[in-house]
């Protein structure tokens, strides 16, 4: 078993933090996105979409998409549970994880994709759209601050995959100057708590 990944990219980090929380070690193979190694024919055989990370199982099966990889490990090593416990809790965690993807991670990523020099000439960039993403991320963080007023973690009293997605979404915002504001006390308290877990360094 191994995982193809790239240390600097946000999605591979989701899987690394998840594995660290589970206490699972998997050999990592670097695929340099900046050098375009994920667009070469050898890699497209592994994942025809060209994205990272990708999990290679011992039977040769390739699982792409961060959350699909995380789900595989949740099923093979259920403790500690990071996708919820019973039917309702699992659905609530799914809801919050998706909200963090849609409202936070896709917005900070959209800001980066459309305004950064990294993507210049590689994809059609619409700067104005990047600005809309950036403002949306800032607004959603304001909302998330109010959500966290009465709960310790994003989906409730326990740390889950929704916290991982939110942490990485917010941290990735640094690439375009998106930051937690001083008056966002709940968000700052949460961010400090999840950032100080050993998994955050993964």
């Amino acid at each position: 078993m191994k995982i193809y990944e790239f240390t600097q990219a946000p999605n591979p980090r989701r899987v690394r933090v998840f594995l660290a929380e589970k206490g699972i070690t998997v050999p990592l193979v670097q695929v340099n996105i900046a050098a375009g190694d994920n667009r070469k024919p050898e890699f497209l055989k592994i994942n025809p979409m060209g994205g990272l990370p990708v999990l290679e199982l011992d039977d040769g099966t390739h699982i792409a998409e961060s959350v699909a990889i995380c789900r595989y490990f949740e099923e093979t090593k259920p403790n500690p549970p990071l996708f919820g416990t019973d039917a309702k809790d699992k659905a609530v965690v799914e809801m919050w994880n998706r909200r963090m993807e849609i409202e936070i991670l896709s917005m900070t990523a959209g800001a980066f994709r459309n305004t950064s020099d990294f993507f210049k000439g590689r994809i059609p960039q619409v700067k104005e759209y990047g600005e809309i993403c950036r403002n949306a991320a800032l607004k959603r963080m304001e909302w998330l601050d109010t959500v966290l007023a009465d709960r310790e973690f994003i989906a409730g009293p326990r740390y889950t995959i929704a916290d991982i997605t939110a942490l990485i979404g917010i941290d990735f915002g640094r690439t375009t100057g998106i930051k937690i504001l001083e008056n966002q006390k709940n968000l700052a308290r949460w961010h400090q708590a999840v950032s100080s877990r050993p998994s955050a360094k993964a």
Binding site: P48, T61, A64
Partner: protein
């Protein structure tokens, strides 16, 4: 349980097809997005993100996000299975469902939002961006045709949630965002006909 729904919107259709495949019948309440009924304080109390569908559980709590609703129903009614059984199968179906969301549903929705009259004046539209997203959607359909190849369904040999996502994205794209299902895409056409002829497709 009650589903807050809007017949014309694509995400609620994902939940309705899933419910039909499970053979379930749920109470249904229409929330008219076009009239902004999903932005009223009463509705935002149910889902602060303002989106549809929303499922009200028997304990009175509310669950938003189509896939979260599907996952809840999958836990309560495991058969017919639509999200996978073994670890590997669950991961493969999740991968394909997400590919359908990211590759197809995402660009189709952005093409719709940036080009359709319905959104004029409601959000800032970028016509060029919308046109580019429409082209992306078209080329993703070509990609999907190659990926389906001789497989009966998106994630393999049986119908899953990934088929629902792809069907809803393609139908929404052709009806509302100017997409064309090119007859030259034989595998995609064969698949589309098969899933559209299931009774659930009318949900």
């Amino acid at each position: 349980m009650k589903l807050y729904d809007f017949a014309l919107a694509p995400n609620p259709r994902r939940a309705r097809i899933f419910i039909a495949e499970k053979g379930l019948k749920l109470d249904n309440e229409q929330v008219n997005i076009l009239e902004g009924k999903n932005r009223t304080p009463e509705f935002l109390a149910k889902n602060p993100a303002g989106g549809l569908p929303v499922l009200q559980l028997d304990d009175g709590s509310y669950l938003a996000e189509s896939v979260a609703i599907c996952r809840y129903l999958e836990s309560l009614h495991p058969e017919p299975n639509l999200m996978g059984k073994s670890a590997r199968e669950q991961a493969e179906i999740e991968m394909w469902n997400r590919r359908m969301e990211l590759n197809l549903f995402g660009p189709v929705s952005r093409a719709f939002q940036n080009t359709n009259e319905l959104f004029k004046g409601r959000i800032k539209q970028f016509a060029d961006y919308g046109a580019a997203q429409r082209e992306t959607s078209q080329s993703q359909m070509q990609w999907l045709d190659a990926q389906i190849g001789s497989k009966p369904f998106i994630a393999g040999d049986r119908f899953t949630i990934a088929d629902i996502t792809a069907l809803v994205a393609i139908d929404f794209g052709t009806q509302m965002a100017g997409l064309k299902l090119d007859p030259a895409l034989k595998n995609l056409g064969r698949w589309h006909q098969a899933v559209s002829s299931r009774p659930s497709a009318k949900a």
